[in-house]
């Protein structure tokens, strides 16, 4: 029996190799975005799959998050007699944090698992080998369109999520707290202005709120493709691949979100 340190070193080495594989997949997938042939048809199809079909869950989560934010913050703000500022709080939280993170988590659950399941089934039924055999690079044909589609669609979904959330907040503010719609939206705008502007016109909050989903889109799609392509062990392996994708991408989203926030806050310090 090898000594404990040896086994530890070996398992650490294996883990490190997986991390290396993950990043090399990411690098190649992104590199292929700019190389011929372009599988435009596949990109459009994936944009539909990843973006358009996720619209429903994003609308729902955004709307209810906005409502609950307004409800909770009104109680807190009332204690200080400033419940009129609900709009600021809802807008600030939605645009900077909750919009990107919630959209990311929802899409990780819906799309990440879907990507892993599809590529995993293709792996175990030898369709990936078939692509290779027919002279197509599976990374270029399967991974790049998914990554590109996620990079484009996640920011768009986030914008929709933010907007619907703020509208949900508007509903609660007006109906339950009794803040007129006009005043609510004025406070929302005040919040956006308070963050400052880049190049005079682009609100810093928007930049912060859109850098994140861009990164999250990469995390979700590459995790799904990585676990899907490395599926082993038949249908059971496909199940494991989907679970691992959702777990890894959710955790990465939350961890990366923290560090991104720290970096972005230091860049756009008000």
């Amino acid at each position: 029996m090898p000594p404990l340190t040896d086994r530890f070193a070996q398992s650490a080495k294996a883990k490190l190799r997986k991390v290396q594989d993950y990043f090399s997949l990411a690098g190649r997938a992104i590199g292929f975005i700019f190389a011929r042939p372009f599988y435009t048809q596949d990109v459009i199809q994936q944009m539909d799959e990843i973006g358009v079909k996720s619209l429903g869950i994003v609308l729902l989560t955004g709307f209810f998050t906005g409502m609950v934010l307004a409800l909770q913050s009104s109680v807190q703000l009332q204690a200080f007699g400033i419940s009129a500022l609900v709009g600021r709080l809802v807008a600030g939280s939605m645009i900077r944090e909750l919009g990107p993170v919630l959209a990311g988590l929802m899409v990780a659950g819906r799309v990440g698992s879907g990507i892993a399941a599809q590529l995993g089934s293709m792996r175990v039924t030898e369709q990936i080998d078939a692509l290779n055999t027919l002279g197509t690079d599976p990374i270029k044909k399967l991974v790049t369109p998914r990554v590109l589609a996620a990079l484009i669609m996640l920011p768009i979904l986030t914008i929709i999520n933010d907007f619907v959330g703020i509208v949900g907040g508007n509903l609660i503010a007006t109906v339950i707290i009794g803040i007129p719609t006009g005043q609510y939206w004025r406070t929302v705008w005040e919040q956006i202005v308070a963050g400052g502007f880049t190049l005079h016109y682009i609100p810093n909050d928007f930049i912060q709120g859109l850098v994140k989903p861009f990164v999250f889109g990469g995390i979700i799609s590459i995790s799904g493709c990585y676990f899907g392509l490395n599926t082993t062990g038949g249908t059971e392996g496909v199940g494991q691949a989907t679970t691992r994708t959702v777990v890894l991408s959710s955790i990465l989203i939350l961890i990366v979100d923290y560090f991104l926030t720290q970096i972005l806050l230091s860049i756009f310090a008000p």
Binding site: M122, T125, E126, Q127, A130, N132, T133, L134, T136
Partner: protein, 307 residues
């Protein structure tokens, strides 16, 4: 002590019974092997013109150049898979690779396709050593080959037409009309009605039809080499016959060089110009079906007896 003695003799008796049973099993295997070999010899004798044709093909092949050559190939992942494997397939030959499950038969196909690279030794395709190629160069070499996967491996998100058209769209400049013409031609070659199946999804086809579409896709780009991974596994005897005939037809009419991995001894004897038997990571036998049936090698006899 006394008890121990009784135990001992009891165990001896049990051992003897076990040995007897094994001996009986061995005798049955031998008898079975003898019967199977007799049946195979009979079948080969009936198929005399067929066999003559194959012999002629072998002779032709003997003069033609090697299309596929494995040269002392070693491969190991966690444990050794192939050791010192060498064989040559000449123009127009059909090499069948047989062996027990898990002996690395499919691995040989992956080496030829360069989906895997040997640890030691060379794989030579049409005179070109493909072991040192880059990924992109390997993609180009694969265009010379058509592969039929065990489960057909059709792309299940595409229709039958799109599946067969796929290699044409990827690698040729054919326009839509020419592609459709080619797809129809290939479907007819594998005895499928183009108008009926072209629009269907792979999930709507039976196992035998999927295999045939797989063959049509493999040969769509008119490859010089066809590789088959257990083309008849999981099929009924009639469909097995159809697929075997198709592989023969492909070899005869288009004179492609084929490598077939198979478990199905009957169809192997019908289509092979040479058979390679893989045992314990090595090639235990490489020769004609007739030589195989006549061999006195214990492993070959056991192997045939298993069928």
């Amino acid at each position: 002590m006394k008890d121990d003695g009784r135990d001992e003799s009891g165990r001896d008796a049990a051992n003897k019974r076990e040995q007897d049973r094994r001996g009986e099993g061995r005798r049955i295997t031998e008898r079975k092997s003898e019967t199977v070999r007799a049946a195979i010899r009979e079948e080969l004798a009936e198929d005399a013109p067929e066999a003559e044709q194959r012999a002629a093909e072998r002779e032709d092949a003997g003069e033609s150049s090697a299309v596929i050559a494995l040269d002392h190939v070693f491969l190991a992942f966690d444990s050794p898979i192939l050791e010192d494997v060498s064989f040559v397939a000449r123009q127009g030959e059909t090499i069948c690779i047989v062996g027990e499950s898990g002996t690395g038969k499919s691995t040989i196909l992956k080496l030829i396709l360069r989906l895997l690279v040997p640890d030691k030794g060379k794989v030579v395709i049409s005179g070109e050593d493909i072991t040192g190629l880059t990924f992109q160069e390997a993609l180009a070499v694969r265009q010379k080959m058509g592969m039929v996967f065990q489960g057909a491996a059709l792309f299940d998100s595409m229709s039958v037409f799109e599946n067969i058209a796929y290699p044409l769209r990827e690698h040729t400049d054919l326009d839509e009309d020419e592609i459709e013409k080619r797809v129809r031609e290939k479907l007819e070659f594998v005895d499928l009605d183009p108008d009926r199946v072209m629009g269907q999804l792979p999930s709507e086809l039976s196992g035998g039809m999927r295999k045939r579409v797989g063959i049509a896709r493999g040969m769509a780009d008119n490859p010089e080499i066809m590789l088959y991974d257990e083309p008849t596994s999981g099929l009924d005897p009639l469909t097995t016959g159809t697929i075997t005939r198709l592989i023969l037809k492909l070899q005869r009419e288009l004179s492609v060089t084929s490598v077939v991995v198979s478990h199905d001894i009957r169809s192997v004897f019908r289509m092979a110009t040479r058979v390679a038997v893989l045992n314990e990571r090595k090639i235990a036998f490489f020769g004609t079906p007739e030589e195989m049936a006549a061999s006195d090698d214990q492993y070959l006899r056991d192997f045939l007896g298993g069928y």
